[in-house]
Amino acid sequence: MPSLGADMESAVVTQWLVKPGDRVERGHVVATVETAKGIIDIEIFGSGVIEKLAAAVGDSVPVGGLLASYRAEAEAAAPAAARAPPATAPPEAAAPRPSPGPTPASPIMSGAARPPGAPPSRDSAAERRLVSPAARKRAAELGIDLASVGPARAGLAITIGDVERAAERAAGATGAQPAAPPSRTAGPSDMRGVIAQAMSRSKREIPHYYVGTTIEMTHAVRFVRTWNAEHPVTERLHVGALLIKAVALALEKAPELNGFWRDGRFEPSAAINVGTATRLRRGGLLAPALEAANRQPLPNLMRRFQDVVERARSAHLRQTELADATITVSSLGEGGAETIYPIIHPPQVAIVGFGSVVTRPWVIGGAVAPASVMTATLSADHRVSDGHRGSQFLLAIDRLLQEPEKL
């Protein structure tokens, strides 16, 4: 089983396209497997005759596990050196995306499966997903994530036609046919697995530090209430939008919290794209990004916020919206717990948590009085920033929320 990305640990065989005795050529698609990110073709990395299928349809095979064996030309039976492209396409646009990350070496890469004389290095062409230049360009224009587009048939490259059909499906899905998902966005059944992998990786790899503070929300809550009383339903605000805007503005002065940790180093992001952790009704969560959140007027940001939350909950998000976030905000909303200690979503380097707004005793002008307050926490990557910077960042958010009309 080839590794199709750093987050993948195993996949389920969904179809065999060859049987023992079949002749295969390097590059043939021999099977399809289902991963958390969708169904992916498995290409064979050498030529020969299939001897044995080691995994049956429905079997979950760990990365590096044996899928099948084949007899290479003039050689004894060898494990099938099947490799498939990473599910994540290379970046299309200027906006940074998480990279597929390094692929751990696996036994199937070694030994007789390699053609004689071939270097033991990874074959990037074999791993690469076949996408035509025209398809790449069109996908970038349409904002279609190529990972959500499949070829007309296994083994073919993704063409501009495939991209345009995917775009039509996506457009149809957001319109009259909500039942048809536009992309292979992770569904509820595999959502848990995706979260499990990402969070395991996060806890395994990222040295988190945590800082927290309590923020008075009287002004912010009153601002929203007044605004909403004065505006029709289509123009109303949600406290969450204020929080996102405050985070985004505070990030302008905290670049070490905004970006990605990749290949052993921090890549700061010029764009501030705030992911909003959105709980799904059937369990799990998604964090669609609000792009350039620091630069959008609050009403616009609110509309966009409402839009992505709605679409996240109705499975209409585009993959790009999930991949674009440079930081994440996790807000518990009303009626929830007071404090959350969130875990960073790799390859991001920080996540901000907001608890529920609650009424608590608060010292105002030397006297204790009831006030609306909220706990803000920051989990950040210690490889990139230190607690002191994190603390300053939270205090900046606090200051911004005290003057909500300026957001």
């Binding site: 035509s132 230049p133 025209a134 490259a157």
Partner: protein, 324 residues
């Protein structure tokens, strides 16, 4: 009007000799013999030995002499029997004809037309069958044209003679016997532009010269399968008409270049490179080439056929790009 490619060329020559007293034809056996491929048959009788001039087997001298005469303002039309023989006068074409205008700072033009037969298909083996159009198409200062249709055979010579610079004309040996009707509406052709010989939306087939009939046959086969191929006839191999080539590729997003030259260092390679440079993001599949096998063209029919681009290979290449 029913005619053959050979007769169409002859009609063009006759027009030239009648229409311009500066024009004259010279080459090996163009006079009494009537031309190796009988293109100039009958012209000696009509125009006399001064203007239909047999030469000794001295390619360098008579091609050089034509260049010298052109330097002095005449309009020589040289026939070199085959492109293989033209290697004997490569010096004159490349070092003199192509350079003198530039080397002289624009003082002299070389309005010579050099015709030569090219290509395989008549079992003439390796010293009479090669396609070296790209050798000439490589050279700045030359214009290289390849009439592939009756109308082009009929009218390209006039356009070539009107060009003040040296023009090399390639006539594929398999085309000489092609027969058909000239389009009476056509009285001249534009040698600056490639021609779309068949319109289509699914894949572009770029070709020239003797490969055009094969490519059109392939397009017909593809059409029967529901694949609409657009066939671009380059006509002018230098300068290439990038606009027409790229326009077609941008429409179909797939391209097969059919070239009887060998693949390595071929004109097909140049066409593909230009497409990659200028239309990379319009491509839906890697450009493909169908070229001759990299062997000296062999004598035996089955071997010769195997060495040359054939319609089936063109069809297969197009199918490959379409995944069909």
């Amino acid at each position: 009007m029913r005619t053959s490619y050979r007769e169409a060329l002859r009609a063009g020559l006759r027009d030239a000799l009648r229409g311009d007293p500066r024009a004259f034809l010279l080459g090996e056996d163009v006079g009494r013999y009537g031309g190796c491929y009988a293109v100039s048959k009958g012209l000696l009788e009509e125009f006399g030995p001064e203007r239909v001039r047999d030469t000794p087997l001295s390619e360098s001298a008579f091609v050089g002499a034509a260049i010298g005469a052109a330097l002095d303002g005449l309009k020589p039309i040289v026939e070199v029997m085959t492109v293989n023989f033209s290697l004997l006068c490569l010096d004159q074409i490349v070092n003199n004809a192509a350079t003198i205008r530039h080397m002289s700072g624009g003082q002299f033009s070389v309005p010579v037309v050099i015709r030569m037969a090219t290509g395989a298909g008549r079992q003439l083996a390796a010293q009479h069958s090669h396609s070296l159009e790209n050798w000439y198409a490589h050279v700045p200062g030359l214009r290289v044209i390849a009439p592939a249709t009756l109308d082009d055979a009929r009218w390209m010579l006039a356009a070539a003679l009107a060009d003040p610079d040296p023009v090399v004309v390639f006539e594929h040996v398999l085309l000489y016997n092609v027969e058909g009707n000239l389009d009476p509406a056509i009285r001249s052709v534009d040698i600056d532009r490639a021609a779309i010989r068949r319109a289509g939306r699914d894949v572009t087939l770029v070709t020239y010269g003797g490969s055009l009939p094969k490519t059109l046959a392939a397009a017909a086969t593809l059409a029967a399968e529901g694949v609409e191929a657009e066939v671009v006839d380059l006509r002018t191999l230098r300068p290439l008409d990038d606009d027409t080539i790229l326009g077609s590729v941008r429409k179909t997003r797939r391209v097969v270049v059919v070239d009887e030259g060998w693949r390595s260092g071929s004109l097909a390679g140049e066409v593909v490179a230009r497409i990659a440079e200028a239309a990379f993001y319009d491509l839906d599949a890697p450009p493909a080439r169908v070229c001759s096998a990299e062997v000296p063209i062999p004598y035996a029919k089955h071997l010769e056929d195997a060495a040359l681009p054939q319609p089936a290979q063109i069809v297969a290449a197009a199918r490959g790009l379409l995944g069909s």
